[in-house]
């Protein structure tokens, strides 16, 4: 029951947040230089006075602002994200078409970064102050300072151009005619570099967090008790310290998931990965505002879903949460 209630309150909060983003979107379009009619006319590729006046009437731009706002929000509630004149398709169709690729990429990057980050953090904390620790912390510091898109470009240069190990471009081999298992393997090969480079920065974040958290929990009394009982150090580390140290890492991972979606714009641009991030990049050059704002709204929705999922995971690994609320 407690969980159902918590989910319901999270969903209501999510709906309010999305509504607020829709309103923000509306005012952003109005803040754009020139009114939306001239923007639309520009997107459609022609702009004489008569056409702009027609467009104003057609899209209700001659109505008062609050009527326009109500209409815009109404459209979004019914999942109408507008029309992309540049691509000749409704924005929602464009996004749905590309969403799977982005989900595959961000989820892979998320798991890679979380697992590798936690593993490295635990390894560093076990040898704190020694060479291994210095090496891991130093590498993390370096990844932490590396721009995502540059890491991606350098990975293409080394692993794709120089060594020829992995493809550095696209989602699958075009015209290969693969199907079933072969196709999955082909996509996996294309996925490795984008997922690794997108995960690199976040791996550094989770590693630092895990290390700090492990060291902090190791100071607590129940760990001393476990040690006094004569348990093996590796067992104490796994069962007693790690389980408690993971809690803040999970919280942080949920918050960071949102940044992962933003980072996908960069990674997808470098690797020509056909997701919504690449769609946003293409729309930037074309000044296709409907699509840009549509991708923005959908990525915010993805973040909210990520956050609700983390919340649930958190409840599972720490039953105390449900009782407190």
């Amino acid at each position: 029951m407690a969980i159902a209630g918590a989910i319901l309150s999270r969903l209501i909060k999510a709906a309010i947040t999305l509504l607020a983003i829709a309103i923000l979107n509306f005012f952003l379009v109005h803040a754009a230089p020139g009114d939306p009619a001239t923007v639309l006319a520009g997107e459609a590729g022609a702009a004489d006075e008569q056409m702009i006046a027609d467009l104003r009437a057609r899209f209700g731009l001659d109505q008062p602002l609050y009527v326009q706002l109500a209409r815009y929000v109404g459209n979004i509630v019914t999942l109408d994200l507008g029309y992309s004149f540049r691509q000749g398709q409704p924005v929602l169709d464009l996004i749905l078409d590309r969403l799977p690729a982005t989900l595959i990429l961000t989820l892979s990057a998320f798991w890679i970064s979380l697992l590798a980050g936690v593993a490295l953090g635990v390894a560093a904390s076990a040898r704190v102050g020694k060479f291994t620790d210095t090496l891991i912390t130093g590498t993390a510091l370096l990844f932490y300072a590396t721009p995502l898109y540059w890491a991606a470009l350098m990975a293409v240069l080394v692993f794709s151009v120089q060594l020829g190990w992995l493809p550095g471009f696209g989602y699958e081999t075009v015209g290969s005619g693969y199907s079933g298992f072969e196709r999955a393997l082909d996509i996996l090969k294309h996925l490795i570099l984008p997922a690794l480079t997108l995960g690199l920065f976040f791996m550094a974040v989770y590693m630092r967090m895990t290390r700090a958290s492990m060291l902090e929990v190791a100071q607590q009394d129940f760990v001393k008790t476990a040690r006094a009982k004569g348990l093996m150090p590796s067992l104490i580390r796994r069962r007693h310290i790690l389980r408690n140290a993971l809690l803040p890492v999970v919280t942080l991972a949920g918050l960071q998931a949102g940044q992962l979606v933003g980072g996908a714009v960069l990674t997808e641009t470098v690797f020509a990965w056909p997701g919504i991030g690449r769609l946003m990049f293409e729309s930037l050059a074309a000044r296709d505002y409907n699509t840009i704002l549509g991708v923005f709204l959908v990525s915010a929705a993805m973040v909210i879903v990520f956050n609700i999922l983390t919340d649930l995971v958190y409840r599972l690994i720490d039953p105390r949460i449900g009782h407190k609320a």
């Binding site: 952003l28 721009p147 505002y289 915010a300």
Partner: protein, 279 residues
């Protein structure tokens, strides 16, 4: 003096400081080093590095000096990083301070507002803002400030809350000082050290954000920046690696330096917490 001593005995922080000073010097001396500016076409395009005198890092797709671009790029990175951080502090510090000091509905309202901005994927918001406001140095700086202030507000709120509980604040109240006076003169000065640490890390993040926006073609079209150099060279990565390599190294070094300084400051300001509990 002990603070400074603690800071300079930290090897990482010292290295960071040395790199940062070098970058600042280069940025300041740019017009002296390259009076013709970063856009001048000086030689034939695609000159390989270390092959021509006077052009140690080679030339780009249009025959511009890569090193001159790097030197001018340092100006933009540092300027945007610094100004956007100051702006983010100007939004986050007052909001967090009021929320933490007054509590109740002020706190509730301010925190809901902050939470909303934290939910929005911040890089995507920055892209949308710059794309719609037209890419200029000002719009980029504002966009970065808008996406960077929420953590400041949360930090300041938490600090102000804990400081406000101390006895000397009660004493100030008894002495009849006004709320504003207590908040500004008695409470805020005691929250400065964590804010300084956070600010130095924020400059680093802002530099990464600025370079990412420029990489996507959302930089100010009149200003040479590191992100722009990499973005322009993206399509020729197979034939001219150096065009994207060197600006990237510049970004990594600068951001690394700022992170090292931030950590050094953190350790120096909180000696009892040093080497512990950071994320």
């Amino acid at each position: 003096m002990t603070l400074w001593k603690r800071f300079i005995t930290n090897r990482g922080a010292l290295l960071g400081l040395a790199i940062l000073i070098a970058v600042i010097l280069v940025a300041l001396l740019a017009p002296v080093l390259y009076p013709r500016g970063p856009w001048a076409m000086v030689q034939r395009p695609f000159l390989v590095p270390f092959t021509t005198d006077g052009l140690p890092l080679g030339t780009d797709t249009l025959g511009r000096d890569v090193l001159a671009g790097l030197v001018y790029g340092a100006r933009v990175s540092l300027l945007v990083g610094l100004v956007s951080t100051v702006m983010a502090l100007l939004i986050g510090v007052p909001l967090g301070a009021l929320a933490g000091f007054y509590g109740k509905w002020v706190d509730e309202g301010a925190m809901r507002f902050t939470e909303f901005f934290q939910t929005i994927p911040n890089f995507a918001l920055a892209i949308v803002l710059v794309a719609i406001l037209e890419p200029t140095l000002t719009s980029i700086t504002i966009a970065i400030a808008i996406v960077s202030w929420p953590p400041v507000a949360r930090l300041v709120r938490a600090e102000v809350m804990s400081v406000t509980k101390r006895e000397y604040v009660d004493a100030a109240r008894l002495a009849g000082l006004s709320n504003m006076h207590i908040l500004i003169r008695q409470v805020l000065p005691n929250t400065v050290s964590p804010i300084i640490v956070m600010a130095s890390l924020m400059v680093a993040t802002a530099i990464l954000l600025e370079s990412s926006l420029s990489f996507l073609g959302l930089g100010d079209p009149n200003i040479m920046s590191w992100g722009f150099q990499i973005g322009a060279a993206r399509t020729v990565i197979r034939s001219a690696w150096w065009l994207s390599f060197f600006p990237g190294v510049a970004i990594v070094l600068t951001v690394l330096a700022l992170n090292l300084i931030g950590e050094g400051l953190n350790d120096a300001l909180n000696p009892h917490l040093a080497r512990k509990g950071r994320s």
